[in-house]
Amino acid sequence: MNLRSLVEAEYLKQADGFSASAEFRALESGRAGASDYDLFISGVCRSHLKSPHILAFLFALAPPAEAEKLKQNMLEELGLDGEGVSHPSLLVELMLAAGFDEEKRARIWSEAEEELRSIITAPILFGTLTELGLSVLLETVAFEWVLSRLAARMAHFLRDHRHLPQAGLAWFHHHAEVDLRHAEEGLEAVELYASFYEMDARDAETILELTFRQNVFIRRYFGVKGIQGTEPGAEQKVIGLRGV
């Protein structure tokens, strides 16, 4: 399989894993509680409020043939293109529509900043920026690819079960429409990136595996609790400790 096929297969696996997760199904079926919808909204906002920064990083690493497209993406994200709507401002609209008060909104902003800080301060495992850049690009394109397929469903369950108005759901509508194009361009960008930097095919495949060791959507939108498996006997251990 070539890199593009491997990447697409992984993205499909990520999308399927996310939409088949217990958390997603509960939200979509309306079985989830109000607080679960709010946790999901918080996860989405925390994950994407700082997207322009990530795009700026990718712009800096982009092969010349891709730089213009990435610049356009970044300007669009910042609302500096023709449309003039920044994506972070759409997320703020989402939080307002969900009734998040100022303190809660500030906390989510702060968590998004902390996440970025954590990425920046973490020791880098890869030996070069080329490898790190591919990993970041793969995850960024994964969001465009998966959102282009699932954002409309997310908007529907937030409308139907969390009763959010259409205006508050603009971020999802935008990604459902625009990212169909971005997702296809993204796959090309991954191929071009690996080719321009003459990356070893095996290394690129390994970076793909490392980037998606977990379902990044479950991790980012639902948090660690979402990826927590149930260990047989775990409950007995808890009960055992209560008697200590």
Binding site: F126, Q214, Q228, G229, V244
Partner: protein, 392 residues
């Protein structure tokens, strides 16, 4: 200074991927974190990981031991400031002497429990004085270089994991083995890692002496540096010694080395070439310093190992020790979020490219523990001292 309160957090942090070896498959960390508070308000954290197949401890028995034995010993003690000394064992003596080493009820040693409390006390006292553990355990090197590990599994999984470790720039890799056909996995790992990599194997006691010698013979062409715990821990060290004498690969004692008495017997009976010291397994920083000293005096080399699933708390203690010890042959640990879905420190604490990691310089262990993460993953909390009163 008195220690006014103690809280024990029994955690269950999910792993990013399953980790397996001969005796266990793990999908989550079952770490025990101890938090203590001094009379002047300083807080310290320590960590231990109970392993029934190593020290005989379980999470339940470790927690009970802390509550019923270690905490009463700590609560009545008056601690002075920790003063940097040329000999770190002297600097740590008052903490070390306040914590008994105990066994019983099928437990070889309550060392994980002891390590958790020892590290928490050291962290709290140093934070109270606003000095780093690196002032006590003076680093001999600017950074620590960790090795990677490949858990049990298929040949394909081993090769894939090896490619990841190679991409991370790791040159030291340990491979878990448990059967004859694992030789093929080692061949695959050697092919991926290249001739420059240093490979070790760890059987976690999977073989009898003859099988261990046979597999060592097959592994020899692959230039394996060390054969860790080829046979099971037994009172009688003859099997381990037989492997040491019959194998071209040097033998490392891990499960066979829990207490200082174990170490003396291993030396007296010439049953191994290397010690594997682990802070949790051996009961804390001070016991590890003693064991390293004993190894050096006996002309043995040692590895500073780690616990699968340790959080940044135990990793930080291990890193200070690794930076201080004269010549650890191999260093393990600091996987952080490479293995844990979430770590407990604000500072990302895993190693970087090439396995390199810097030495923390902030007060105490040098990390900031996020209490909300402890709370999120705790499946049990036990409050003692003033904490018990405030939670009553």
């Amino acid at each position: 200074m008195k220690i006014k309160s103690c809280t024990i957090f029994a955690l269950r942090i999910p792993f990013v991927e399953t980790f397996a070896h001969h005796t266990k498959r793990r999908r989550f960390s079952d770490s025990i974190i101890v938090r203590v508070r001094t009379s002047d308000g300083a807080t310290g954290y320590g960590e231990g990981l109970a392993r029934d197949y190593v020290t005989g401890e379980t999470v339940e028995s470790s927690v009970r031991h802390i509550r019923e034995v270690l905490w009463p010993a700590v609560a009545e003690h008056e601690y002075a400031e920790l003063e940097p000394r040329p000999d770190p064992l002297q600097a740590l003596a008052q903490v070390d002497e306040s914590l008994p080493f105990m066994s019983g009820g099928g437990v070889i040693a309550f060392n994980a429990a002891r390590a958790a409390v020892e590290i928490a006390l050291v962290d709290a006292l140093l934070r109270s004085q606003n000095i780093s553990l690196s002032k006590i355990l003076k680093p001999r090197r600017a950074h620590v270089t960790y090795s990677g590990v490949i858990s049990s599994g298929s040949l394909e999984t081993a090769a894939r994991r090896a490619r990841q470790l190679r991409l991370f720039g790791l040159r030291d890799v340990k491979v878990k083995i448990s059967e004859r056909r694992d030789v093929e996995r080692l061949r695959a790992v050697r092919e991926v890692m290249g001739e420059g990599a240093r490979l070790r194997v760890d059987a976690n006691g999977a073989f009898n002496a003859k099988a261990a010698i046979d597999i060592a013979s097959e592994l020899s062409p692959l230039r394996i540096e060390v054969f860790e715990q080829p046979t099971a821990r037994r009172e009688d060290l003859s099997e381990l010694r037989e492997v040491k004498n019959g194998s071209a690969i040097p033998v490392m004692a891990d499960e066979s080395l829990v207490t200082i008495d174990d170490a003396r017997r291993l030396v007296d009976e010439k049953a191994c070439d290397y010690f594997n010291l682990r802070v949790s397994k051996c009961g804390g920083l001070a016991p590890c310093l003693r064991l390293a000293r004993l190894a050096e005096e006996a002309g043995l080399r040692f590895q500073l190992g780690s616990q699968v699933g340790e959080t940044a708390v135990l990793s930080a203690a291990g890193r200070h020790l690794a930076a201080h010890l004269s010549e650890p042959a191999f260093i393990e640990g600091s996987y952080g979020k490479l293995l844990l879905a979430e770590d407990v420190s604000r500072e990302p604490f895993h190693f970087g490219h090439g396995g390199r990691a810097s030495i923390p310089r902030a007060a105490g262990l040098g990390i900031r523990v996020r209490v909300e993460i402890l709370e999120k993953h705790a499946h049990a909390r036990i409050h003692l001292g003033d904490d018990e009163k405030s939670h009553a």
